[in-house]
């Protein structure tokens, strides 16, 4: 075992990469849950995004178009969830699960001919001087653009929810849909917009895995990251900044565990690999005592003519 081979600067830089898919998926789901809807289909929307993004990037040669397609695919899948829960009044838990089951199958089907291909690479942002700085350079300035998009998205969602009228309406719908309806807000329409946004974000997160983090397509490659994103929203107490914190914490666990595997620590690989899931459970336990910050109408369906 050789721990000295682990470079802390690279560790932090790769931690940020590992956290980015989670950032995308979790911030999207945060908005969905703020509107009072619980979409358990994140894993399914992510994997659809992963395969759509990968296929598009390979076919067009443009990773950027890949990300656009991934957001579109995630949002398209979420339309099904929106129809089921907002119009057909289906149970949100069951609908979310069906999204995941369907997404896993569909992605395997679509991705068949893409196994073993390398996707086109996304150019890293290269700021001369800045990215050459020791320590700070690789951590802050040496990444691909999508990583910064994810962080910008967190800031944007935070600002919109906290300061804008849209954010206020979103929260109103999530806290008390009957009152919001009485005030004349279109509950169903607002929720559908939120669901679509969440789907697009999950799609981006999935594409980040298949295009940048792992750069390849394998069946079921999201491996539970969508579910961890759901846990992250609970962890963050529905606050955007804490999504960032939580995602980096989790990215840290993932990266450290991978580094320990590479360094040949005496613990078997499988036990290291299960650590992110165990830590997620642990974090959920610690934070589950406080449910006060959850949107009050979370998971409840709204039907106007009751």
């Amino acid at each position: 075992m050789d721990l000295s081979a682990i470079n802390p600067v690279l560790l932090i830089a790769s931690l940020m990469v590992a956290a980015t898919p989670l950032l995308f998926a979790a911030i999207g789901e945060l908005v969905v849950e703020k509107s009072g809807v619980l979409n358990l289909g994140v894993e399914g929307m992510m994997i659809i995004g992963a395969v759509a993004g990968f296929a598009t990037a390979v076919e067009t040669g443009s990773p950027l178009l890949g990300f656009v397609a991934a957001a579109g695919a995630g949002a398209t899948l979420s339309v099904l969830f929106a129809i089921l829960t907002q119009y057909a009044q289906a149970n949100q838990v069951a609908s979310g699960l069906s999204l995941t089951l369907f997404g896993l199958g569909m992605s395997a089907l679509l991705g068949q001919s893409y196994v073993g291909i390398k996707p086109p690479q996304m150019q890293k942002i290269d700021l001369p001087l800045l990215s050459d700085l020791p320590v700070v350079g690789p951590i802050l300035f040496g990444h691909d653009p999508m990583l910064y998009v994810a962080i910008a998205l967190i800031v944007a969602v935070w600002a919109v929810i906290k300061f804008s009228r849209i954010g206020l309406v979103l929260r109103a719908v999530g806290e008390n849909h009957d009152a919001a309806h009485a005030l004349g807000y279109k509950v169903v329409r607002i929720r559908i917009m939120a669901i679509l946004f969440g789907g697009a974000c999950a799609g981006l997160g999935g594409a980040y895995i298949s295009l940048i983090r792992v750069p390849q397509w394998t069946e079921g490659m999201t491996a539970g990251i969508g579910w961890i994103a759901l846990a992250l929203v609970v962890f963050a107490s529905w606050k955007p900044w804490r999504v960032l914190l939580g995602a980096y914490l989790f990215g840290g666990v993932t990266v450290v565990q991978l580094n320990l595997q590479a360094a040949g620590v005496a613990i078997p690989v499988e036990y290291l690999a299960m650590s992110p899931y165990l830590i997620t459970i642990l974090v959920l336990v610690i934070l589950s005592a406080d449910k006060s910050s959850a949107p009050a109408a979370l998971g409840r369906n709204f039907h106007a003519a009751r």
């Binding site: 089921l84 199958g105 569909m106 961890i228 499988e270 459970i281 959920l284 039907h303």
Partner: protein, 360 residues
């Protein structure tokens, strides 16, 4: 303009008709999908639904129906109890794996001794393994209020890693020339879950599934616990006033479903699949969720739904070899089924009416 009016009572007729409608709609949508893949849709649907039952080689496929259906029914029965009460065990796949590991572990511990009590002990161990694994989310929920959906799901990934480590380590076949995976229990008489009537597909897991169906039916219709489960699902507040103890209900529902999933895993590993290997689990724990809903969370419905889902597995295999239909297409097909079912459920709880909304 189409409006929805909530029915005072869910319609019984629609509740029975919607699964059939969903199957029909899935056939149509699936046919379109198969056509998009360049296959003859009619031929594909016929292959999936007709060939295993009445085709030329049906004598071979019909026993498979029991083999594939039994674990699905066993797991789905357990899940349905919780689902009815709003307790969501999504981690049956993990409980299935741990049950298989416990069962196989006990069997392999006795190797090569032959004795009548080995198989019963394995059954107990399998059920216990699944029960323990389900007790983790159950305990965390009742003690700390932790979300059981996320915890039970995380534990699936933990269980998968555990399975990998066991088939590479402790349970690895010492005579396996270094390949991962345990000894084959099919070649170890005392631990083999063989067909009760040779070639029928009828093994102990099928018997257990039938017992579970009867048990669940009696429980739900004749027993106070079943009443509490239904009451909690339909009116949680009323349930509390009626003296339902939520803690006990959570422990019971999650524990029972975990135990049944563990049993399913144990019967599978000691029978049809035969050995513990890295990817021995094939997603029955997740497909059982579809089975539970398709069966309307009703024991008899689940029995029928399990048969139907087994049919799609077997028919899918046939379509894969005869028509080169990708195996993932069947997974999509099953996912669609759940979609349509949830969508058509609308008709059970609401009445569609045409015309402008009246001002009340």
């Amino acid at each position: 303009m189409i409006r929805l009016e909530k029915r005072p009572q869910p319609s019984r007729a629609w509740s029975l008709a919607t699964p059939l409608l969903a199957v029909l709609a899935t056939m149509i949508a699936g046919g379109l999908l198969f056509a998009a893949l360049g296959k003859d849709p009619v031929e594909a649907i016929r292959t999936i639904f007709w060939e295993p039952l009445f085709g030329e080689f049906a004598f071979y496929y019909r026993p498979q129906l029991l083999v594939k259906g039994a674990p699905l029914v066993l797991i789905a029965i357990g899940l349905s109890l919780g689902f009815k009460a709003g307790i969501w065990n999504i981690g049956a796949e993990g409980q299935y794996i741990i049950g298989a590991l416990f069962g196989a572990g006990v069997g392999l511990a006795f190797y090569p001794a032959e004795a009548w009590y080995i198989f019963p002990l394995m059954v107990i161990a399998g059920g216990l393994g699944g029960w323990i694994w389900a007790m983790i989310p159950a305990f965390l929920k009742v003690r700390f209020g932790t979300n059981e959906i996320l915890v039970s799901l995380m534990l699936v990934y933990v269980a998968e890693q555990f399975l990998a480590s066991m088939s590479l380590g402790l349970l690895k076949n010492p005579e396996g020339h270094g390949f991962p995976g345990s000894r084959n229990l099919q070649q170890y008489d005392s631990a083999h879950n063989a067909d009760l009537i040779a070639g029928s597909g009828m093994h102990w897991g099928v018997v257990a599934a039938l017992i579970a169906v009867i048990f669940a039916y009696v429980l739900l219709n004749r027993h106070i616990t079943g009443y509490h489960i239904r009451l909690t699902g339909e009116a949680p507040r009323a349930a509390r006033f009626a003296g339902v103890n939520p803690t006990r209900l959570i422990l019971f529902c999650l524990g029972t479903s975990g135990m049944l999933a563990g049993l399913a895993g144990m019967f599978e590993v000691s029978g049809p699949s035969g050995q513990v290997s890295i990817d021995f689990n094939v997603g029955y724990g997740f497909t059982a969720i579809i089975v539970a809903f398709l069966g309307r969370l009703h024991p008899v419905g689940i029995l029928l739904a399990g048969g139907l889902m087994a049919l799609t597995y077997i028919g899918g295999d046939i379509a894969q070899s005869n028509l080169q239909l990708p195996s993932a297409a069947i997974q999509v097909f099953q996912g669609m089924l759940l979609f349509f079912l949830l969508a058509f459920d609308l008709l059970t709880n609401f009445r569609l009416s045409l015309g402008k909304p009246e001002v009340a």
